[in-house]
Symmetry: C2
Subunit: 224 residues, 2 copies
């Protein structure tokens, strides 16, 4: 007989994990203990429970005891753990950024992007995130291309070095720049060193619309 002697994960553990993932993907809900047993050639529910307990101790699984099908994979992100971020519109030099209404429901929005929470940087899992599609090449000095999707977080506090979407009154446009606080105001630094920074005096109004937490670029289209 095959023996494991409690050293880590065995073949049967893996088979169960794979089945749970597969079942969850197909049915959108976890399997029952008995279903796991059937598909993994385990005749007794207690044995499945036995393995499930071990997987839970290994930290690979979470269980809601007493709840039917109350299990979930916790490995990395068990599929299904993603944020629906509304695409509020386009960001373009000379145009203001549209602001999401308070009653906005991302689930009924026509334009949304789904972002896996595992990809979100510093646990920006707040629901107030929003996305903008970049239009034009005006942000090319910030390594952001035409058509890119930027995920933004409404700015409450901005730290030095973060990329922010700002409304520049003097230029009458919205752009993405790196933000730095200086002694006599603020410095908005393009990512490309070849471009000069924009200095904002303390007296001038500075509207920070949000800070960029992620950039997504799809490469399907042609390039001239």
């Amino acid at each position: 007989m095959m023996v494991r002697k409690s050293k880590g994960i065995g073949e049967r553990h893996q088979k169960i994990l794979d089945f749970i993932a597969s079942y969850q993907r197909e049915h959108k809900h976890p399997p029952s203990i008995r279903e796991i047993g059937e598909h993994c050639d385990i005749s007794s529910t207690s044995v499945v429970n036995y393995y499930l307990d071990q997987l839970e101790k290994e930290g690979l699984l979470e269980r809601d005891r007493k709840i039917s099908r109350g299990m979930r994979l916790v490995n990395n992100s068990p599929l299904g753990d993603m944020l629906r971020v509304p695409v509020m519109g386009v960001i373009q030099a000379g145009e203001p950024i549209p602001i999401p209404p308070s009653d906005f429901n991302p689930f009924t929005a026509e334009d949304t992007v789904d972002i896996a929470t595992s990809l979100m940087p510093t646990k920006e899992k707040g629901k107030d995130l929003f996305a903008l599609q970049v239009q034009g090449d005006s942000m090319i000095d910030a390594m952001i291309n035409d058509g890119d999707i930027v995920i933004l977080k409404p700015a409450q506090e901005v730290r030095n070095g973060e990329m922010v979407a700002v409304w520049l009154d003097e230029r009458n446009e919205t752009t993405l720049k790196y933000f730095y606080k200086e002694k006599d105001g603020f410095r908005l630094q393009p990512a490309n060193p070849a471009y000069k920074p924009i200095m904002i005096k303390k007296t001038e109004p500075l509207q920070i619309k949000g800070k960029v937490v992620m950039v997504i670029r799809k490469m399907e289209r042609m390039v001239a």
Copy 2:
């Protein structure tokens, strides 16, 4: 009493849909009929079942009868429809690209990224996608920064204008360039017009490792 007279979706239907989505996001499994009733102020399980039936007829919900918590939203993409792409390593000038072994299991990989299928460009839903983390600034002329994650598709055929990962024998390095077929060979065009293209003669060997279908940049880190 509030009456609806069977015209589409009512307030209570919406409340139930929202609760299911919310519950699913939090618990990773659907709620029970009784749980729906409690959180939607419905005292009878039969009434919940009554609404669930209607939602199913509207095509907004699917149900596995007789199965506990056997329901799923079918709206757009009810959370959970994403691809797990293995991160094979880093791409770096002077280093070869690691190739995924055939028995590679993305579910047990230590390093993966989850991409919503709704974000994938031209239905590149093949499971042979892989990801690389860019190291260094060598690809900065392709608008790809240090730390970016590029999603690649193994190249079988490459069309003009697509960005590909190529191994340059003469330079002994791997880079990302736009690909063009010319009369006497191939032209590898940097995204930045300030840089000159690299011409490859037909006689020279050209190893295309894959073409880029997506770029993801997290913005958590500081910038000098």
